[in-house]
């Protein structure tokens, strides 16, 4: 910790700070639009596989309209690969390659949709939108704090790793490394627990009563909801069109 500003940011933080028409839409509209596209993807099977192309172009169009780099956003969809690759491979071995391909396409395009949402909506606005849609506030409070203190945790973990390397430039073996890492994790947990208590004290000291108060928000013009109507219409149209023109 020093006097210089910590300039570590997530790319999504920079992208979501844009001022395009899409950025300025109410978060609830974007959340529900993303949900419509995800439902469309879930409903897409081999009999309507051309819908995948349709959804891809729909999301790509949204990203271009919002001024988000296409290459960067596409690259970030690969984040789901470690999670789905194993299951896809299992399906391949089990003699069902079409299921493996479906799984991969659905996962990648779902990630693409999520990226479009995160790139056009600041995370705090997203949480606020979820709250207004009825998601339990306690869950959102947890997400809020994870987001807020993630960088701090990463910084502390890196500081501990640096300190360990200073005393063990050549690890004595895998077991010694794991023991040190396990110890560091335990310390990180204990420090986080202590911090959580102090944060709670700071909140109580400023009158916290169990829920985050919100400064009055500007009301959303009715016509903005037409964006949602348009997205749902397109998602349905893509699905129906694909069923009439299968591969």
């Amino acid at each position: 910790m020093d006097g210089a500003a910590d300039v570590r940011t997530l790319t999504f933080e920079d992208w979501s700070a844009g001022g395009s028409r899409i950025h300025l839409l109410d978060a609830r509209i974007k959340l529900l639009a993303a949900l419509a596209i995800l439902l469309g993807l879930a409903a897409t099977g081999w009999e309507s596989a051309t819908a995948f192309a349709g959804y891809f172009f729909l999301v790509a169009f949204i990203l271009v309209a919002a001024g988000i780099p296409l290459g960067g956003s596409l690259l970030r969809t690969l984040i789901v690969l470690p999670f789905v690759a194993g299951i896809a491979i299992l399906n391949l071995w089990g003699g069902d390659p079409s299921r493996a391909v479906l799984l991969l396409l659905r996962s990648l395009l779902s990630a693409y949709t999520a990226i479009a949402l995160l790139s056009t909506t600041p995370f705090p606005a997203l949480l606020r939108g979820l709250e207004r849609l009825g998601v339990p506030p306690f869950l959102l409070m947890v997400l809020h704090f994870v987001y807020r203190y993630l960088f701090l945790l990463v910084d502390q973990a890196q500081a501990m790793m640096r300190a360990r390397r200073c005393r063990a430039p050549q690890p004595r073996g895998r077991t010694s490394l794991w023991k040190a890492s396990a110890g560091a994790l335990a310390v990180l947990f204990a420090r986080s627990y202590g911090r959580a208590e102090r944060i709670h004290h700071a909140m109580l000291a400023r009158g916290f009563q169990g829920h985050f108060p919100v400064l009055a928000e500007a009301s959303t013009p009715q016509r903005e909801w037409l964006w949602l109507v348009a997205t749902i219409t397109l998602a349905v149209a893509i699905q129906l069109t694909a069923r009439f023109w299968p591969i």
Partner: protein
């Protein structure tokens, strides 16, 4: 004992759940507009004492804590927290909202003030600490000195009569430190400054108390307390082993 003291603590005793004694009978008072430096080694009970003033300590305490004429207990929490604010040692513990503006507004909103009043208090508080230009930014992108000032704005926005400061110069480089001292000088609230920074104590406080093993063992002018604590670097005969 003055009838107008803003803080009146009598024989405060507290032990942690594991049995360790944290406070062993503390008597203390603070007058309106006065700044008192609270010195003492780590673990001597200073922070625990501050938390008692806010009623944030779990478990049973003995003794009396009166803030602005109100005993500090569950039923008076809301009123007490309007009168007394605290700047915590680590600003990251205190800045938990997505933007500076929302964080400073947290206190006034919890007080139930109208949106216009909240906005006006936020604006005034940020101006008072010279941080109005960062209102829309996330707090975690600020430097240590900027975070400290924003945290102070969050406290000032509640218009307290008393401000508690726990090691306020921690992590601050000299320019940030000078800036903070200048701001604190301009505030006319009564203040308790817990600090190891003797220069800061001399700059801000008119009197000092010294905590040792959960009690106040000396009080008086800054220099008297520093000398009594042996913190002035003067050579003295070695103390007998305890």
């Amino acid at each position: 004992m003055s009838a107008e003291s803003v803080i009146q603590v009598t024989n405060l005793r507290y032990s942690y759940p594991d049995g360790n004694v944290a406070l062993a009978g503390v008597d203390f008072q603070l007058e309106p507009g006065e700044t008192v430096a609270m010195l003492g080694s780590n673990g001597s009970g200073k922070t625990t004492f501050l938390l008692h003033l806010l009623g944030l300590v779990e478990g049973q305490s003995e003794g009396e804590v009166i803030v602005c004429g109100m005993p500090v207990e569950k039923r008076t929490f809301a009123q007490v927290h309007r009168k007394i604010g605290m700047l915590f040692q680590d600003s990251d513990d205190q800045l938990f909202m997505p933007t500076v503006e929302e964080d400073v507004a947290f206190g006034p909103l919890n007080m139930g003030l109208a949106a216009d009043e909240v906005r006006s208090r936020v604006s005034e508080a940020l101006c008072e600490v010279g941080m109005e230009h960062v209102a829309g930014r996330p707090p975690y992108h600020l430097s240590a000195g900027e975070k400290r000032r924003v945290a102070l704005a969050g406290v000032l926005a509640m218009n307290p009569e008393i401000i508690l400061l726990d090691e306020p110069s921690t992590f601050l480089d000299p320019p940030a430190r000078s800036s903070l001292v200048e701001i604190l000088h301009s505030l006319d609230q009564a203040k308790i400054v817990v600090t190891h920074d003797l220069t800061l104590a001399r700059q801000l406080a008119s009197r000092a108390v010294y905590f040792e093993h959960g009690k106040i063992t000396s009080e008086g002018s800054i220099e008297q307390v520093i000398a009594a604590a042996g913190w002035d670097g003067e050579r003295r005969p070695p103390q007998a082993d305890r």
